[in-house]
C-alpha cells in the first residue's frame, strides 16, 4: 500500500464514516492501482459495503479523503458527477429499472448522462449485452428474466457508462446457487480484460482466481491486506484466520 510503486487510481485516506453514533468505518486507508482487482471480505457489518459505497458517494464519509483518478470528493456536485462517470457499480439487489426494457435500462445513462444519440447508445448497449451473453433478451422487461440474467444486465448497464473502475457490492448474494457461476464468469471475463475492480464478496473461489489483492475488514477497520497466495495460506491476524476458517470449512 505504498504510494511510490505505481500511481493509485483510487486513494482512500483515513476515511471515517458514522451512522449516528455507530462508527462504520474507522480511519480506513486503501490504494487501488489501475487494473488492480481487489476483493474485500469480512463478516457482515464489518464496513465492506460502506467502504465501496463511499467511493462513489452513495454514502458520505465524515473524515478523510477519497480521490478517484486525481479528483477528490469535496462535496461539490461537479467533482461528484465527474467521479460517478468514472465509477460503475453493481448491487446485490440488481436495482434494474422495472418499468424499462432491458435495452432502455442500458441506454438511459449513455443518452442522459453522456449525451449520446439514441442510435449510438443502442449500438453500445447491444455490444455490452453480447459481452454478458444475453443479447436476445434486449426487448424483455427485468421481471421476465432470471436473477442471474438480471444481474448480468445490471453489469452491462454499468459498462455502458464505460467506467474506469467497477465496484461490486455482493453481486451474487441474492442469487440462487445455480445462477452464481454465470455472473462470476462475466466478472472473471471483465477482470481479464484489465478492468480495475473492487469486489465485495464471499465467493472465495472467485477471489482466489481473480484477485490481485485481498482485503479483510472487521469492525470498520481494514485488518489485513495481502495477495491471495499469502492471504489464504497464512494471514497475519488471528481475526482473519478465524474468519477464513469459518468461511472455507462450512
Amino acid at each position: 500500500m505504498t504510494k511510490n510503486d505505481q500511481t493509485a487510481l483510487i486513494e482512500i485516506e483515513s476515511v471515517s464514516k458514522f451512522f449516528g453514533s455507530f462508527q462504520a468505518l474507522k480511519s480506513v486507508s486503501l490504494n487501488v492501482t489501475k487494473g488492480e482487482r481487489v476483493v474485500v471480505c469480512g463478516p457482515s457489518g464489518s464496513g465492506k459495503s460502506t467502504l465501496i459505497r463511499c467511493i462513489n458517494q452513495l454514502e458520505q464519509h465524515e473524515e478523510g479523503d477519497i480521490t478517484v483518478d486525481g479528483i477528490t470528493h469535496d462535496g461539490a456536485a461537479k467533482s461528484l458527477n465527474a467521479i460517478r462517470q468514472k465509477v460503475g457499480m453493481v448491487f446485490q439487489q440488481f436495482n434494474l429499472f422495472p418499468h424499462l426494457s432491458v435495452l432502455d435500462n442500458l441506454t438511459l445513462g449513455p443518452v442522459r448522462a453522456r449525451g449520446m444519440s439514441k442510435a449510438d447508445a443502442e449500438k453500445l448497449a447491444m455490444q455490452y449485452l453480447e459481452r454478458v451473453r444475453i443479447p436476445e433478451q434486449s426487448d424483455k422487461f427485468p421481471r421476465q428474466l432470471s436473477g442471474g440474467q438480471q444481474q448480468r444486465v445490471a453489469i452491462a448497464r454499468s459498462l455502458c457508462m464505460e467506467p474506469q473502475i467497477m465496484l461490486f457490492d455482493e453481486p451474487t448474494s441474492a442469487l440462487d446457487p445455480e445462477m452464481i457461476n454465470e455472473v462470476l464468469d462475466v466478472m472473471t471475463e471483465l477482470a481479464s480484460s484489465g478492468m480495475t475492480m473492487i469486489v465485495v464478496t464471499h465467493e472465495m473461489g472467485f477471489a482466489r482466481r481473480v484477485a490481485d489483492t485481498m482485503v479483510f475488514m472487521d469492525h470498520g477497520e481494514i485488518v489485513e491486506v495481502a495477495p491471495p497466495e499469502k492471504f489464504f495460506k497464512q494471514p497475519d491476524s488471528a481475526r482473519c484466520q478465524d474468519f477464513l476458517q469459518k468461511i472455507l470449512h462450512h
Binding site: R84, G88, F91, Q93, F97
Partner: protein
C-alpha cells in the same frame, strides 16, 4: 313515507309517463319544451368537464411541485411542504371559492372571471391532496432505484423524470383517479358564484319549472354517468400501464 320514496329508489320511468307525484313531462324529450329543458341541462356538461379537467391538471402540477420539497433532506424545504399542505387542506372548498372570487380581486386589484376563480379554488384545494399522494408514491420507491440512477450519473431531474416518477405514478394512479372523481363532484360548488355548469343549470331550471325532484334526479344521473366514464377510463389506464411493466 316509504310509499313516497319507493319510486325514487327504483329511479323509474325516465320516459314521458307522469304518474303519481312525478312530473317527467319537464324533461320529456319528445315534447319541445322537454327537449329544450334536457338540452339546457346537458349544456352544463361542457363547463363541468372543462373546469374539472383544467383544475385537476393544474393541481397535479402544483401537487408535484409541493411534494418534491417534502422529500428533501433540507428541513426548510420540508417545512414549506408541511405548511402548504396543512394550510391549504384546512380551508373548505366552498370557502376557498368565495375567497378567490370575491376576496382575491380586492387583494390583487384585478377582476377574476367565474371560470378562472373556480379553477384556481379547486386546483389549490386539491393540490394539497395531490402533494400528499405524490409524496407517498415517491416514498414507496425503493432506494436502490436512486442508487442505481446515481451510479449511472443521472442528475436529480433525470432520476425523477425517467426512473422514479414513472414508477410512482403507476402506483398512485388509483388515488389520482379518486381525486379526479372528487374534483368532478366538487365542481358543483362553483355554481354558487354563477358558473354555468351542471348544478347551476339545474338550479336555474328548477326556478322556472318548479320541478326539483325530476330535475335534480336528472342532475344526479348526469354526475353518475360522468363519473362512471371517468372510473372506466382510469381502470383502462391502470391496466395499460401494468401490462407495460409485466407483459
Amino acid at each position: 313515507m316509504f310509499k313516497k320514496l319507493f319510486p325514487l329508489l327504483l329511479l323509474v320511468p325516465l320516459s314521458g309517463c307522469a304518474g303519481g307525484n312525478w312530473g317527467w313531462y319537464v324533461v320529456d324529450p319528445t315534447t319541445t319544451s322537454g327537449y329544450n329543458n334536457v338540452w339546457f341541462l346537458l349544456t352544463g356538461l361542457y363547463y363541468t368537464v372543462l373546469l374539472s379537467v383544467t383544475a385537476i391538471v393544474i393541481s397535479i402540477v402544483i401537487g408535484l411541485l409541493v411534494a418534491l420539497p417534502g422529500l428533501s433532506t433540507n428541513k426548510y424545504l420540508r417545512g414549506f411542504n408541511r405548511v402548504y399542505v396543512e394550510f391549504v387542506r384546512a380551508v373548505p372548498i366552498l370557502v376557498l371559492i368565495l375567497w378567490v372570487y370575491y376576496g382575491l380581486p380586492q387583494l390583487a386589484g384585478i377582476a377574476i372571471g367565474v371560470f378562472w376563480a373556480g379553477v384556481i379554488a379547486l386546483a389549490l384545494s386539491d393540490s394539497a391532496f395531490e402533494a400528499e399522494i405524490f409524496r407517498a408514491g415517491i416514498q414507496s420507491i425503493d432506494k436502490g432505484q436512486y442508487e442505481a440512477s446515481h451510479s449511472i450519473s443521472l442528475n436529480y431531474y433525470d432520476t425523477m423524470r425517467f426512473v422514479i416518477l414513472p414508477q410512482a405514478i403507476r402506483r398512485i394512479l388509483p388515488a389520482l383517479g379518486n381525486q379526479l372523481v372528487y374534483m368532478l363532484k366538487m365542481s358543483s360548488l362553483v355554481s354558487v358564484i354563477g358558473m354555468q355548469e351542471l348544478t347551476r343549470k339545474a338550479n336555474e331550471l328548477v326556478v322556472t319549472e318548479y320541478r326539483p325532484l325530476e330535475i335534480y334526479t336528472i342532475l344526479v344521473l348526469e354526475y353518475l354517468v360522468l363519473i362512471l366514464i371517468v372510473s372506466a377510463g382510469v381502470r383502462w389506464l391502470e391496466r395499460r400501464m401494468q401490462t407495460d411493466e409485466r407483459n
